[in-house]
């Protein structure tokens, strides 16, 4: 994705000049190209942010930290972990009475200003027992909070940085990566903005692929790829929706470990079979849109039908992420179904222009 962002900057030389030019009507191909460039130009900053933080999450554990261990700690991984995470405290094992968990949670909520999102306790039932109370970012800041409490006395012992044992610039930057990537720092507002930006990036990727192949679909070698784009583009989200349906359907029986991957494979198999059977590409895309929209809209209904927590209870417990996901699936599924039924949010040129058969006939950039 980072490569796609960089290639977008290099390939599109009139980035700033075309920022305000709406898609033109002179041909369908040019119209689609304008749409892609416009979406790509405006979503470029977020695309870079998402790609950079995603690359960090992908490579920090696999490459970054081992390199740090080799360079800064002479290959001593234990020493590196002690520096980055901390030294495990010695456990005496002496039994002790635990303090009331609710009291600690209330104290932490008062101290940070938000409800805790999860807690963990080490050395339960001993005099060394500690509780870590985690709060997602809230208010003006974008950093999460790891509050440490003594489980015997209930006293606050300090805040554990995400990286290292004491607050530092590196730890602060490290703690920004999650909120910047997942957008979970300002409740529903940031989630909504991040979902919109994520969809914009998906649109840019898919429309870029379409354009690249469409301009060459007259050539035999590109025809298979032209056909594969909707299969992959719609197939992945349909497969993921299948996984979610499998999870929700199997949740009451507690067998989600089997049915979640089964749902993904079943959804993907259905997409592939449809791709093999239906020859007309437009009709195939329409079938995929119906399947995607229907499965998306079905998810919140299925969640509630399988005994999931209702919205009033979720609001009361400040569990807004689930409410947001329900709303997005309902609205998103409805929009996809409307697109499948023929609704078009933007006007498009009516006549289909003949496609290029050689690279020389490809429409010039300007």
């Amino acid at each position: 994705m980072l490569a796609a962002v960089v290639s977008g900057i290099i390939l599109h030389k009139h980035l700033l000049r075309d920022l305000f030019v709406a898609p033109r009507f002179s041909s369908l191909l040019l119209n689609r190209r304008d749409r892609h460039i416009l979406a790509g130009s405006w979503s470029l900053p977020f695309g870079f942010l998402l790609a950079f933080t995603g690359a960090f999450f992908s490579f920090a554990g696999a490459l970054g930290f081992p390199i740090v261990a080799m360079v800064s700690f002479g290959g001593d991984q234990v020493k590196m972990i002690e520096t980055l995470v901390g030294v495990p405290e010695a456990e005496s094992g002496a039994p002790a009475e635990m303090t009331n968990i609710d009291t600690i949670l209330a104290k932490s909520a008062q101290r940070v200003g938000t409800s805790p999102d999860f807690v963990s306790v080490v050395h339960w039932g001993t005099e060394d027992a500690k509780m870590q109370v985690y709060h997602l970012p809230s208010g003006n800041g974008i950093e999460s909070h790891n509050e440490i409490y003594d489980m015997v006395t209930g006293e606050y012992e300090g805040t554990k940085p995400d990286l290292g044992t004491r607050p530092s610039l590196g730890s602060a930057v490290f703690s920004w990566m999650g909120p910047l990537h997942f957008g979970h720092f300002a409740g529903l507002l940031s989630k909504f903005v991040w979902v919109s930006l994520g969809l914009a990036v998906c649109y840019v990727t898919l429309s870029g692929l379409q354009l690249w192949v469409q301009r060459r679909q007259g050539l035999a070698t590109w025809r298979r790829l032209w056909r594969a784009i909707p299969i992959v583009g719609y197939g992945v989200p349909i497969g993921l929706a299948g996984a979610a349906i499998g999870f929700l359907a199997a949740f009451p029986a507690g067998d989600t470990g089997y049915w979640t991957p089964f749902g993904f494979l079943a959804g993907s198999a259905a997409v592939l079979i449809a791709g093999l059977v239906v020859k007309d590409r437009e009709q195939l895309s329409r079938i995929y849109l119906f399947a995607l929209g229907g499965s998306m809209a079905a998810l919140p209904i299925l969640r509630l039908a399988m005994g999931g927590t209702g919205w009033p209870t979720l609001f009361a417990s400040a569990n807004l992420i689930t409410v947001m996901m329900d709303m997005l699936f309902l609205v998103g599924g409805g929009l996809v179904l409307a697109l499948a039924a023929g609704w078009r949010p933007f006007a498009r040129p009516a006549p289909e222009m003949p496609m290029a058969t050689t690279d020389a006939e490809v429409v010039p950039a300007e």
């Binding site: 405006w42 003006n140 910047l180 930006l197 006007a347």
Partner: protein
Amino acid sequence: MSPLVAFVVATATSMSAVSYLLAIDEKRQRVFSLNRRWTLPKSRLVGWIVVLAPGVVLPATGHLSAFLCWFGAVTTLSWAIASRRPLRDARAAAKT
């Protein structure tokens, strides 16, 4: 000022400036052959300064979460606005 209020004020400010830049953009006027009866004073620099000003003010006043939401919202909303064809041109295209 709450993060939500800061976000709304910042986004409204930037979007007003984006609308202004949209109205004075020469390439847009040329592509769609726009010949408006009214004209605005043209200053792209001032327009861009107003668009980007919340990006300086929000972090400087400690509104980091509002800054990030503003950053995302402005790019998405600007895309939505810029991808709409000028009204008169859209009506003409609909007739043909």
